[in-house]
């Protein structure tokens, strides 16, 4: 054997050894959002995109592009709020704003009559998406823990050291970020999403819990919930309604995201991971299961539209037809070829516990299949106007009616 042949043989042998060693290793896990993704070129190019790290200047915000029903007006209410997500209002009018991992902050926006002052009241937090204001205190939830800032509106410049009220949340990044709200029963409602796109889950995940405001007496009120990032309580019945983001990668057009209505706390399972959109068994986890065994959505909100924050309208400013209707912020799709969502829709509950119709309310934020803005939450202000947060522009808009 010549030297060059020998070298080749040795190299080939080494290569084969290296490859067979690699083949013996179990493959590592894909990122959670990529599980189930088809290996086609088109799908392989789709991935979640975080909020842009620079807020859009006030004069470049897309208010002129927004389309609203006649008589409604959109304006910039506050800008330069990086990663603006959840919205809550304090008794004295302060608007609290949460964020995800781009900012990791909680802000307070103080209306100075025409101008708004933005204060950072907490920072370096892990995905502090969940906030709630209740009786003078601000509650902040990360995937791991819930803390409380007492007498917050009197201390915006020097917030108090937060009180830990619950530190036993799983802490997963996937679908671990929160939306929290105090119900009419005086309890704090806290979801724990599925730690994956689609997987079998234990009792620790894919549910909505409630607890006393001091973190005690935790109980599960809803099961089979994949990832809710928005809910509210019907002012008439006190029932919990929640949006739920359904699994990815089944197809461009299935399954739909959901608006759900909890009528029997503790006794309803909303289908995940077995049944999606109330009538479609999962191709993997749905075998041996029937959609008839699970609570059906009140209404379907479109595939991949990502409905997040929602509120029952209880204000006096909008026309009477909006009384008791639900305003829903749809953040918009990240894994659909033709973008969909990125708007505000209104759902009208009917007398039977369902929804009679869904209408577009704020549209115009998709141009040439690109997002001009992405609504994340809505807030009914004390004057009846509606605030809308937009995490991709780092801004808050105000929607008003009439003069």
């Amino acid at each position: 054997m010549k030297a060059s042949q020998k070298l080749f043989a040795v190299t080939a042998l080494a290569l084969a050894a290296a490859l067979s060693w690699a083949q013996q290793q179990p493959p590592a896990e894909e990122p959670f959002w990529a599980k189930g993704r088809p290996k086609t070129d088109t799908a392989m190019k789709m991935a979640p995109v975080p909020a842009f790290p620079i807020p859009t200047a006030a004069d470049k915000l897309p208010v002129a592009k927004m389309k609203l029903p006649p008589g409604f007006k959109a304006e910039v209410w506050a800008s330069n709020i990086l990663d603006a997500r959840g919205l809550r209002q304090g008794d004295q009018g302060t608007v609290f704003v949460s964020s995800l991992f781009v900012a990791g902050k909680v802000y307070a926006v103080v209306d100075k009559g025409g101008t708004r002052e933005i204060k950072t009241i907490a920072e370096k937090l892990m995905l502090p998406n969940g906030i709630e204001y209740h009786k003078g205190s601000l509650y902040v939830a990360t995937p791991k823990e819930i803390t409380r800032y007492d007498n917050i509106e009197a201390n915006l410049d020097k917030p108090p050291t937060p009180v830990m009220i619950y530190d036993k949340l799983p802490g997963d990044v996937p679908h671990g970020w929160k939306f929290i709200k105090v119900g009419p029963d005086g309890k704090l409602y806290v979801p724990v999403g599925a730690p994956c796109n689609i997987c079998e889950v234990s009792d620790t995940h894919a549910k909505i819990m409630r607890m006393n405001l001091d973190g005690t007496n935790v109980e599960t009120v809803a099961r089979g919930v994949r990832n809710t990032v928005g809910f509210d309580f019907d002012p008439k019945t006190g029932h919990l309604w929640f949006t739920d983001n359904q699994r990815d990668w089944l197809s461009e057009d299935l399954p739909n995201d959901e608006l759900n209505h909890l009528t029997q706390p503790g006794n309803q399972h909303f289908g995940y991971p077995y049944c999606h959109q109330g009538n479609f068994a999962d191709p993997e986890f749905g075998w041996g299961k029937s959609c008839d065994d699970y609570a059906k959505p009140a209404v379907l909100l479109g595939p991949h539209t990502a409905p997040l924050g929602m509120r029952f309208y209880t204000g006096k400013m909008f026309p009477a037809k909006y009384q008791g209707a639900i305003f829903i912020a749809r953040h918009g799709s990240w894994n659909r070829t033709k973008k969909t969502g990125s708007d505000i829709v209104v759902a009208w509950p009917d007398a039977k516990g369902g929804v009679s119709r869904v209408e577009p309310f704020l549209t115009g934020l998709i141009e040439n299949n690109e997002y001009l803005g992405r609504p994340a939450d809505v807030l009914v202000m004390k004057d009846g106007s509606l605030l809308v947060s937009d995490d991709h522009n780092g801004a808050i808009y105000r929607i008003s009616y009439g003069r």
Binding site: T11, A14, L15, A18, L19, W21, A22, Q23, Q25, P27, A28, E29, E30, P31, A34, R37, M44, K45, A47, V49, P50, F52, P53, I54, P55, F101, V102, L127, V173
Partner: protein, 191 residues
């Protein structure tokens, strides 16, 4: 300190006056370390050619906030305005993708690195061609020393992105595998 020293030696410090041609400002402020065409010839300093603008602006943002740990780049980014971040990141995205190094790769390490990349599904985020996209870094033909250093940083937790995604991805990759992975990505053969 080493990186700060290197930066002080190589950076041409120009007054960052109201100059809005960021390709020219790149040439003045960044090229000495990162290469005029974004192809770095400086040890431990990344090539920027072909990086997506979203990735570039995200890293500049993290440096400016002090959330990414590199003394030299934190010092540079601290003085940047929002417009600077946008301008520089767009200028960086216009630089041509870096070419593979002239030196021949070690075929065994190449094969092991490829197998490691496949097993750890690096392409799930960085793309089958490792060109990156949006907020995700381009890895193809990045400097080998910088790649290995960065991957070690993710594995040890010294470097953290927005989330711990890369830290988790590197948890199961051994020190030896990191070296091979860096070798493979730096020399990435055309498909």
């Amino acid at each position: 300190m080493k990186s700060l020293g290197a930066w002080l030696v190589c950076a041409a410090v120009f007054p960052a006056a109201a100059q809005t041609n960021y390709s020219e400002r790149y040439a003045q402020q960044c090229a000495a370390c990162h290469g005029p065409a974004g192809n770095s010839e400086l040890a431990m300093t990344p090539s920027l050619g072909g990086q997506p603008s979203f990735y570039a602006i995200t890293q500049l943002f993290l440096f400016r906030q002090g959330r990414r740990d590199n003394e030299a780049m934190v010092a540079v980014a601290k003085g940047m305005s929002d417009d600077d971040l946008r301008g520089y990141s767009e200028a960086i995205a216009k630089l041509p993708p870096s070419a593979a190094p002239a030196s021949a790769p070690d075929v065994q390490r190449l094969a092991r690195g490829r197998a490691t990349a496949q097993r750890h599904q690096c392409g799930a985020c960085h793309g089958g061609d490792f060109a990156g996209g949006q907020q995700v870094a381009r890895l193809a033909h990045q400097r080998e020393d910088y790649l290995a250093h960065t991957l070690r940083g993710f594995k040890s937790g010294k470097r953290i992105g927005y989330t711990n995604a890369m830290n988790e991805a590197m948890a199961g990759v051994s020190a030896g595998e990191i070296e091979d992975l860096a070798h493979y990505l730096a020399h990435l053969p055309s498909r």
